[in-house]
Amino acid sequence: MHRDDFVRRMQSPGGDKQSGRSLHIDLPLLVMLILLCGAGLVVLYSASGQNMFYVKRQALLMLMGFGVMFGVAQFPVRFWERWSFLLYGVGLMSLLAVLFFGVGAKGAQRWLDLGFTRFQPSELMKVAVPMMVSAYLGKRYIPPAFGHVLMVLAITVIPVFLVVRQPDLGTALLILASGFFVIFLAGLRKRYLFSAFLLVMAAIPTFWLFVMRDYQKQRVLTLLSPEDDKLGAGWNIIQSTTAIGSGGWSGKGWTLGTQSQLNFLPESHTDFIIAVLAEEFGLMGVLALFTLYALLIGRCIMIALNSQSQFGRMIAGSLTLTFLTYVFVNMSMVSGILPVVGVPLPFISYGGTAIVTLFLGFGILMAISTEPKRIRTTL
């Protein structure tokens, strides 16, 4: 019974059990999210060139995000499991709409203009796809049978294909990953995993030749040798590694980073914001942020482990892994170990839809974390 006590304590650590549960708030999760958002705003202020406009806008979006998160958390997990297909359907429709009516910039068509705001359906799919897959597999035997695997593949690949067409390779890969995470957590058999691996390997040349656009290929080539094109495609990566490296252990001080303040660093308030943090707060700052992420992810894993239902486990696990992937991919691409794929750093990078979707995901995690406990028979 010791074990049960332990589990129970972890289910609602600290704080008022009653109020947390009734308001559907997971306090540790909330605290860490607030800390991350606060850190994000501090870095954003410096990265945007001390522009309060960006900070205010971002703060507003974060508030909206918290609202969405609380709102989502109020609904029981079963509700989300039941209506996943609707969310997925809406997402799919909007992706199709993007192909025909979408607006965009730099040769990519990613947004829907809703009049009052722009909406990026591919962001929604980052949550909708794993939900749909989890909902589908939640009612089935696991490990999934071949037919189910095919179904999951279809659910995942259709939106991925639509997003690739925009083109937005980074998001497409993340959606693909989120779908894959679910089926992986559902115990996808090793032979499928192995054949999937072979398939990916075989697909790479095809991808390179027929799917990837020139600028995307350029990014990959640039990663391999950024010095080849110092003022062109290599510029970003050279400047970001320089910014990070020159930060040293303790950094140059807030708003004192020369790379970011003198505009050597591109996209400093969006995708490359970690370089600003690294330059101004040094490795200390990076490690602090990393710790915050690790704690947050740790808490999410707890929630996943303690989930009552198969759906809850899978969606919580998958969202956690997707989140972890964001952090990993972003920190890797900015520091030059992955090609630049346009993945923002969650809660720190400036950006609209991405933040709200993030909170949507965490709302579901909160719903799972605070769902009423059924009597556990076995562990």
């Binding site: 490296g245 252990w249 003198l262 990076v286 482990l305 486990r313 696990g317 990993f328 920190m331 520091s335």
Partner: protein, 622 residues
Amino acid sequence: MIHDAAFSDPARERKIFVSRLLIAIFLAFVLGLVVIARYVDLQLTRYQDFATHADNNRMHVRPAPPSRGLIYDRNGELLADNRPTYILTIVRERSDNLSELLGTIGSLIEISDNDIKRFEKRLTRRKPYEQTPLKYDLTEQERGILAVNGYLLDGAEVSARLMRFYPDGELFGHAIGYVGRINERESQTIDGIKYSGTDSIGKIGLEKFYESQLLGEVGTEHVETNARGRVMRILDNRDPVPGSNLTLYLDSRLQRVAHKAFEGERGALVAIDVRTGGVLAMVSAPGYDPNLFVSGISQKNYDSLLNSPDRPLFDRTIRGQYPPGSTIKPLFGLIGLHSKTISMDYVIDDPGYFIMEGIERPWRDHNSKRGGHGKGVDLAEAIIESCDVFFYKMSIKTGIDLLSRYSEQFGLGQITGIDMPGERSGIMPSRAWKKGARGQSWFNGDTINTSIGQGFMLATPLQLAVMTARIASRGDTVVPKIVKSINGTAVARDEISAPMNISEEHWDYIHKAMSDVVHSTRGTAKGISRGLSYKIAGKTGTAQVISISAEEEYDSSKIDKSQWDHALFVAFAPAEDPQIAIGLIVENGEHGSSAAAPIARMVMDMYMKSKAGSHQTAGVAN
């Protein structure tokens, strides 16, 4: 649809999930370590490299061009100044879209097609990240407009530069010359480091000759720039060393007088300080305004200067080569006396022509009415009245070898070594010269032509002044110099060879004869002696532009002015204590006595007046 859940085994499902999650966590842990390792590598291991790189990114060393040395006349009057002007420059590498930038600038301030054309030309030969000038001499208003719209103009910058300015314009144009933009040919020969940040170079005149002294030493400026190259602040700088200032022997008062005297004329005058060789005045008329060249002369202006029949760009003082005519006579007389081919008692009879044995054509005496100078003409009279026949005979007796050998000591037929680029040597003909230049032997007829400064003989106005100065100083072979001191340090006096050992008696004789040219009633330049409070020694000359045969009479009314004779005059003063020597020519001025001599008098008057003035002030100061 079959509901699998009915057969589900929650415990097993959970077990599978947990094991898979553990695998994922393990992988995430490894990837996390990779990322951390990467940041540790960048931020700790390679910190120094990146810190340096970041500094190199933001810090740039910019050359701080030195200000060019100033040029003063002997009295401290500023002849070449540097004035601040504002120019609009563009760094090509820092502009994303050059044509758009040019368009934006064009919509703000006036940019002519010519500006654009020249800018594009400069673009083709600039160094990377160099500021390429687009427009010079921005007005206050233009600077204001550009400053307000600076945010639109990434890559463009307004910078202040010092530009050469010649306050007296045309007055010293030929002597001082001008600076201009460094052209492609020059940019290949100059030291790129010395000239970084400097975009002009001495093209001609003193500006060219003293380029290395005037330039100065480039300084450096460490600046912090943003990614667009805009300077955010200056971190550190090493000041440039300004170029050396030149003080000239030139006296702007004499220069003004001479310049004014040549108004409407073509010609040249050089006045030399007899004792130092310092050039007191140097005028080539017509002149041009050197300021036109400083920021690049327009094609239209350049064409009009280049194609003018008066050739204003041609520096006649050192590059104009004229037959010296009779101005050579005192020198040749002196050579005759010195080499004892004639004596002071030697006289001739002058019937007005000279017949050389074996040559049918007689040589006419140009300076006398038909009938000649009469009987018993000695050297003094031949100089005073400018008798050609005396020199015809005397030259045959003396021979070309002696004449040319001694003449060279007086600066004829060779460059004088003045501190100006592009000096011409003139021609002092000799047997060797004719063999070399014409491939022909020397004839007595050539000697006769040479004896009155005609034939092959050519000299520049500078050479005439130098010759006169050496006569005046009794054989000091001083080298003419324009620059008196550099940054206050006097330039050493130069002599080309040991003084000639010509007896005082001969010097006295020639000086007296030259003085009588002006002061005797029969002198050819007696016209300028009126009201003279000091004595001038001189010699008039006339140089033929077209040849007139002995039978014809030269009549200026029948020929075009451009073919009129050149009028020459050489002189020194005061005659008994020579201080200033002058050589001058008025092209197509006809007679040395009427066209050229008065100009010399005006300059000398000013010289004597200014000397008296300076003596007075010196006396007061004492």
